[in-house]
Symmetry: C2
Subunit: 89 residues, 2 copies
Amino acid sequence: MLTGYRQSIDNIDAALIHLLAERFKITQAVGRYKAAHDLPPADPAREERQIKRLRALAKASQLDPEFSEKFLRFVIDEVIHHHERLREE
Amino acid sequence: MLTGYRQSIDNIDAALIHLLAERFKITQAVGRYKAAHDLPPADPAREERQIKRLRALAKASQLDPEFSEKFLRFVIDEVIHHHERLREE
């Protein structure tokens, strides 16, 4: 019982890791573009739209919207660190 | 340029939210099973295996292994809160 659940969790985690890897590839390209064009690392208006959209998607898929917002902030914080590092280079 | 990148990021984020929703559906079933069989909410040995595996997958897909570990801990912390709530009910 627990073993079957855990195999599914492990499959989902592998998919999550590979999607996150692709996401950071794109945000690294965004970071290089922003650094080259002297744009600020963070974009609060864009973040607000993202949070609103993900909360709606979370609700529709029975995920806690609070968690989806915490999750996006967790990922965006990491992205902003990357962008700041690119600016300093 | 930025618009194209952002459309890809938005697609990936939607996929991440839906996968997370599925993951929590499974961990909720695990939580009910653990509560019914009086098993502890956390399982440090299982978590250690998960972290080791995800760090290897992260490395293979050019994602920062430190980030993959932070990410899994972030998700597991949420799961343990859910399990603790189920035990109290």
